[in-house]
């Protein structure tokens, strides 16, 4: 087994025992990247020199007993919508190709301060808009379980890298499921914490009231370790949570005995693959066997959550992406007037999905339409929050499939935005409510493609959510890994 396949917790233990060095780990994951990148294209930028320099620095610290945190020396990837000082940051947009931020995102700052080795920048759908990574201006990422299929998105590069071992863990951003859905499609754990838990400072905004940073990892324990590495109050983000942050890893073994697990009945039926539903039910049976009470919970407004999301998210995006005008940074397309310069820069720099959402958002905020569209969507959001609050009266956690389907083939939905949008039908409600949710792999379908299971919890109840996820991980025993055969020339 390559060091690239170690879990982070194992790697941490072996680093501590002096059995491996950070340089060893970094070399192993970068070697894996060398093997797989041509086929999978998980990364937009790999910073080999930077990674080895941090790994060497970490090893020096360890020799002198001066490590700076539990993740010191662990090689991870961040999605390319995290600002990284001096390291190209594109959000997978042609418009930002060549943009080198003068500052680090809060999460990146925390990782660097914690001695984490930053391998590079993972691929994504342009500006995190998409569910397949096919909207990357620099070409799609592919699913390591079947490279004819998408890894999901928008954090598809992060998920695929973690699944294939070209990163020990990764960070993504989740606006409507962009961490959980690719985690599900790639057979890894993906977490969207409560809104406000991880500072958004330096994360290139898609929809500010929905965006949240979170980890992707191969185990629940690893995900907890990674999340603890970046969360915490940051005064540069006014929406950053100021209260307590629990030690997640302490409650991973607390089990589900006596907990009520609510299956949300709206997640199922047409569009849901039978094998996905079967895996969901099988997981519920195992939870029941472990002492959880299983109940069915109805949250009617879930049925219109997707519609509300596709008004709110594009509305915020239309303003957030207005700054990309070619004036101060980014690839300018000249024009006769300032207006023409801006218009041409944007028309040529943004891809079709980004333009579609900007138009949608601009329209829904426009005079005469605001109340019917954006205003109505906000009312739906308010009602959804109320209904979830009621549902949590009946259940400690809520569960569902993470995605209605397993990984689909490249191009299958690329020309049908609505079909693509439906990929996030199970994940979007948690972004609208701001609640935490995570995806855990629970099996493979008949084609050997991973199926994910979603655990949702009330605001700030990450401890409970992680405890349930860890129990599912133990009960299900999902240990499958994509084979490297079929991956280009080894």
């Amino acid at each position: 087994m390559s060091l690239a396949d170690l879990s982070i917790t194992d790697a941490v233990a072996r680093l501590a025992a002096g059995e491996v060095t950070s340089v060893d780990l970094t070399a192993a994951v970068l070697e894996r990247a060398t093997m797989t990148e041509a086929d999978l294209h998980c990364y937009l930028t790999i910073d080999r020199d930077g990674a080895f320099a941090s790994a060497a620095a970490s090893d020096t610290r360890r020799q002198t007993g001066a490590t700076v945190g539990p993740l010191d020396g662990i090689p991870v990837a961040v999605k390319d919508n995290f600002s990284t000082r001096g390291l190209e940051t594109t959000a997978a947009s042609q418009l930002l190709a060549g943009y080198h931020p003068p500052y680090d995102a809060h999460a990146v700052e925390r990782l660097r301060a914690g001695g984490v080795v930053l391998l590079g920048k993972a691929n994504l759908d342009e500006f995190a808009m998409g569910s397949s990574t096919e909207n990357s201006a620099f070409g799609p990422s592919r699913n390591p379980w079947d490279s004819n299929r998408v890894p999901g998105g928008s954090s598809g590069g992060s998920a695929a890298a973690v699944a294939v071992g070209s990163a020990m863990g990764a960070f993504g951003s989740d606006t409507g499921g962009s961490i959980r859905q690719p985690a599900s499609l790639c057979g890894v754990v993906g977490v969207k914490p409560t809104y406000g838990r991880v500072s958004r400072y330096g994360l290139i905004a898609f929809a500010s009231s929905l965006d949240q940073i979170g980890p992707l990892a191969r185990t629940v324990d690893d995900a907890a370790l990674l999340l603890e590495g970046v969360w915490g109050h940051d005064r540069r983000d006014a929406t950053s949570y100021t209260g307590d942050y629990p030690e997640l890893r302490r409650s991973l073994s607390s089990g589900v005995d006596g907990l009520t697990v609510g299956l949300v009945t709206q997640f199922g039926g047409e569009g849901y693959e039978p094998e996905v539903m079967a895996a969901t039910r099988a997981t519920l049976d195992k939870l029941s066997g472990a002492g959880a009470e299983i109940v069915e919970v109805s949250i009617p407004t879930v049925d219109v959550a997707l519609s509300a999301y596709y008004l709110i998210a594009p509305a915020e995006a239309s303003a957030n992406l207005a700054r990309f005008d070619g004036i101060r940074y980014g690839n300018r397309v000249e024009g006769e007037t300032t207006e023409e310069l801006m218009a041409r820069t944007r028309a040529e720099g943004f891809g079709p999905e980004v333009i579609r959402r900007i138009l949608l958002g601009t329209y829904s905020l426009s005079a005469g339409y605001y109340d019917a569209f954006y205003g109505q969507a906000q009312r739906v959001r308010t009602r959804l929050i109320q209904e979830f609050a009621d549902a949590y009266e009946a259940a400690d956690v809520l569960v569902s499939p993470t995605s209605p389907t397993v990984a689909f083939k490249l191009g299958a939905k690329a020309t049908d935005p609505l079909a693509m949008y439906l990929s996030d039908i199970c994940t979007i409600p948690s972004n609208l409510t701001g609640h935490p949710a995570m995806s855990v792999p629970v099996g493979l379908d008949g084609n050997g493609l991973p199926i994910g299971f979603q655990v949702m919890a009330p605001a700030l109840a990450e401890e409970r959510m992680f405890a349930v996820a860890a129990e599912i991980e133990r009960l299900v025993g999902f240990t499958a890994r994509p084979t490297l055969t079929g991956v280009a020339a080894v």
Binding site: N81, S83, Y99, G202, A319, R323, Y329, A367, Y370
Partner: protein, 485 residues
């Protein structure tokens, strides 16, 4: 229709740049006149991923402005994004407030031609300033400029927008309102409030309607007035222009017009659409702005004396309108000196005349400020009293003042040292008069013969004989008594 049949309806929007240490949503310095693009960071440059954080001092100060304008303070107000594309607006949206501003429903009383007019304040809201565009070539005009340079030092400077109700009825009222508002923010110390530097900017919304009509006419916004005088002229011109259009059977369009100071006319800038084309929506990067009652109470308790109240106090102290106006407009140090002098026993009228007159003039001549000179309220009071009792003449008092300001001591010490004390002792003056009359033996006879203007000559002789130190009033009085039969 005749001119008299039209009523102007004017509302004024004022933008006040706050002089907080740091900007509205980031830690960059607020400074005027620094090298371009030196006070900038990811936030005020609108770099990808940057987020705003509200400046608490700016909130405290807008609340102070609101309270000074008699506004209600909103306990929970909301920031909105105002979307429009402009090269010096880094995010291409401005963080502003829309339907729930921090302050609403206040008023400002202004004096115009001895009459007090109450102008309603609709709202005062918090927002951020834009950067500055400098158009190069073609005389700085945007349309023919060869290139445009951008300076983002001003980007993100806290800006308070005060919107009046359309209660203003003349160009003179518009000017008085603007001046009074400027006086208020200056008094609060929250802004440099310099029109020429753009730290306070006035836009006027002007419409006219037939007298007696309740409906509002078509509104035209006029911009680019850089002095109170140009504001008054621009409004006057715009009223006349609108009357001419309507009386000529034409129609007005809702638009923004640019005041051309040199030509004394307004030019059309752009046709204005409704406000909702800014696609306002709640700023998701900021939480609702909470200003609790306790905070408001604390801010209210710390408010300084406002100009209107001060003017009333000066009036009640017996100062005439002209002096009230000059003294209220004087810098705070001068006003403090006045207050201290009165407290130390000077009469209000004399103290006001000295601080706004000779003291201000002396400071201006030497290019110094009150901080540079040794002058306090006690000294002013002493000086005033020495004049009143005749110990020094008014002209000598100016020399005494100069000595005091130069640090030579108290007025009495300076008067003694410089030998400027008047002879106001009756006996001493009588002796000099005796001497003068002895030298002019025919004087009494000539006077009594009708040559009364001889007194002036004799007083002059007394003054000469005393080396200029005799109290001329006393000398006059004593001489007259001696000459009268």
């Amino acid at each position: 229709m005749t001119t008299a049949a039209w009523e102007p309806v004017i509302g004024i929007e004022v933008h006040v740049e706050l002089r907080t240490n740091s900007k509205m949503f980031c830690g960059c310095a607020v400074a005027f006149g620094d090298e371009p693009n030196t006070n900038i960071c990811p936030v005020c440059l609108g770099l990808p991923g940057a987020l705003p954080v509200t400046n608490g001092t700016a909130i405290e100060w807008i609340v102070a402005i609101g309270l000074a304008l008699g506004c209600e303070i909103t306990p929970v107000s909301v920031f909105h994004r105002k979307n429009y594309f402009y090269a010096d607006l880094p995010k291409n949206y401005q963080i502003s407030q829309y339907d729930i501003p921090v302050c609403h429903d206040g008023h400002l009383d202004v004096d115009v031609d001895g009459e007090t007019v109450r102008i309603g304040i609709e709202r005062a809201h918090m927002e951020e300033d834009t950067g500055k565009s400098r158009h190069m070539g073609a005389g700085g005009r945007i349309h023919s400029a060869e290139s445009t340079l951008l300076d983002f030092n001003r980007s993100g400077v806290p800006l308070v927008e005060v919107v009046s109700r359309p209660d203003i009825r003349s160009a003179a009222q518009a000017r008085a309102y603007a001046q009074e508002l400027r006086a208020v923010v200056s008094e609060l110390g929250v802004s440099d409030a310099r029109m020429e530097e753009g730290s306070i900017r006035f836009d006027a919304n002007v419409s006219i309607r037939p007298v007696g009509d309740e409906t509002l006419g078509t509104k035209v916004e006029i911009k680019n007035m850089n002095s109170f005088r140009s504001l008054e002229r621009a409004v006057e011109h715009e009223i006349a222009r609108q009357m001419k259009v309507l009386e000529g059977g034409g129609e007005l369009i809702q638009e923004t017009r640019h005041w051309d100071e040199e030509a004394g006319v307004t030019h059309s800038m752009r046709v204005k659409e409704g406000s909702s084309d800014y696609r306002y929506f709640t700023e998701p990067d900021l939480l609702p702005l909470v200003v609790d009652h306790k905070w408001v109470t604390e801010i209210a308790a710390a408010l300084p004396e406002l100009p209107a109240i001060r003017r009333r106090r000066y009036g009640e102290a017996g100062l005439d309108r002209q002096t009230v106006s000059v003294l209220s407009g004087a810098e705070p140090g001068i006003r403090r000196l006045f207050n201290d002098a009165v407290t130390a026993g000077a009469s209000s009228v004399a103290a006001a005349n000295w601080v706004t007159g000779e003291i201000t003039a002396a400071l201006r001549r030497s290019g110094s400020t009150l901080d540079d000179v040794a002058l306090n309220g006690q000294a002013v009071a002493d000086l005033v009293k020495m004049i009143e009792v005749g110990e020094i003449s008014s002209s000598a008092a100016k020399d005494v003042l100069a000595g005091v300001m130069a640090g030579e001591g108290s007025p009495r010490e300076v008067a003694e040292a410089r030998d400027l004390l008047q002879i106001s002792d009756t006996g001493t003056v009588e002796v000099i008069i005796d001497q003068v009359l002895a030298e002019n033996p025919d004087a009494i006879e000539r006077y009594r013969g009708g040559e009364t203007k001889l007194v002036g000559f004799l007083v002059g002789a007394v003054m000469r004989a005393s080396g200029g130190k005799a109290d001329p009033k006393l000398a006059n009085e004593l001489l007259t008594r001696r000459l009268e039969p």
